[in-house]
Symmetry: C2
Subunit: 236 residues, 2 copies
């Protein structure tokens, strides 16, 4: 491996993850992807065994990463894995909660484990929360509670003795609506000028990795897009 | 079943759960307990299969409860199941998170499912959060994120169209330290006058079940004990 920046994208095959992989490759960084399927643009892929439990997934990923990185360290761990499910308490609550938990919290906690072992001093760890989960989410209970757990995890990891390396930065982005192909498909009549472009987020991650315009450690950064312009509101 | 109040205690064999079962039996209420082991004071017990998954536990418990209650409804569902594990991101994070998740979030979400099906109009659902999880918890990451999920679940369930019956009340208690035999064993030199007595909490639940001194729906009620007096701070 060269002296180029080294970044890992958890969820590197999803819409936002793919945008991040593309952006980081444009910058000539070394990019690893973790997902259920490979991202061919990435320099290395770790494929998650979706039938493995939480602990086994963590072990398998850490072991593979150890082999890949050898004694190199990462400049950033970008966790953009996730998903969405609706539903209130009346039906399939455990099922919806479990799915949301696996998609958002397993990936976030494993990213934290990765950070504690492979992130360099001063490195960046980003997680993905949700603006809506700052309040109650009665129509998407499983989604809200999983995202709230990610928010609190962000605060824990930013506090002293969390196990992350010295001077590292932990931040969660809190999207409102991302401008993804799937969202355009399902909400064709929405006002896209209020949706956050994926490229903007990838650029923001690149800046933070470079040490530029970093928010305060532990910030929950709301992404508020209006007239195609996105503001980062890190006041929480 | 008589016209007596009917209350279900999730975690009815634990320290706080047992105190609740005793208190409710003193009041001559019908009391059901859900736990890994039976509480002999309870009128009925549902034994959780600890090897079953989240969805299966929910199904098994709802089915058994349907049989037990016949067409009766519950006045209150009191979820006091939980546990504690320390640990930061450096070691066993997935393991600690999984244990905390199962103990606190599975029980809370299943209590919500129970509430949506068997709670009467105007009934009470209580969950158990933690004061410490209102901030980051770097030395007990799994515990903090599970409790934060419970806090957000409380807000979701209190919002319109959550699936709970009309006029029901959802509240989480946020203990600081409970005065349990185990806590006295492990912290023998602590100042017990700042620990919250279990009996006080059981009495509070009884009052709320009776419709007395109810906090606002969705409240996170901090239990702050000083000089052996406990204040309920429901300002969150």
């Amino acid at each position: 491996m060269s002296a180029a920046k080294k970044v890992l994208v958890y969820g590197g095959r999803g819409a936002l993850g793919s945008a991040c992989v593309s952006k980081f490759k444009e910058l000539n960084w070394w990019v690893g992807s973790i997902d259920l399927n490979a991202n061919d643009q990435a320099d290395a892929n770790i494929i998650v065994d979706k039938d493995a439990g939480w602990i086994d997934q963590e072990t398998l990923i850490l072991d593979q990463l150890q082999g890949l990185l050898n004694s190199n360290q990462l400049d950033a761990v970008i966790c953009v894995a996730g998903g969405w499910a609706g539903g209130n308490a009346e039906k399939d609550l455990a099922k919806n909660c479990e799915l949301m938990w696996k998609q958002s919290v397993w990936s976030s906690s494993i990213s934290a484990s990765i950070g504690s072992r492979f992130l360099k001093s001063g490195g960046l760890l980003t997680l993905t929360g949700a603006d809506t989960a700052l309040k109650g989410t009665p129509g998407m209970i499983g989604y809200g509670l999983a995202k709230a757990a990610v928010h609190q995890l962000t605060k824990s990891l930013a506090a002293p003795a969390s196990g992350l390396p010295e001077n590292s930065l932990v931040v969660s982005i809190l999207p409102i609506t991302l401008d993804t192909p799937m969202n355009r498909k399902w909400m064709p009549k929405a006002d896209f000028s209020t949706w956050t472009p994926l490229d903007f987020i990838a650029e923001t991650f690149a800046k933070w990795t470079d040490g530029d315009e970093r928010p305060k450690n532990g910030s929950l950064v709301r992404l508020v897009t209006k007239d195609n312009k996105t503001a980062l509101l890190a006041d929480i």
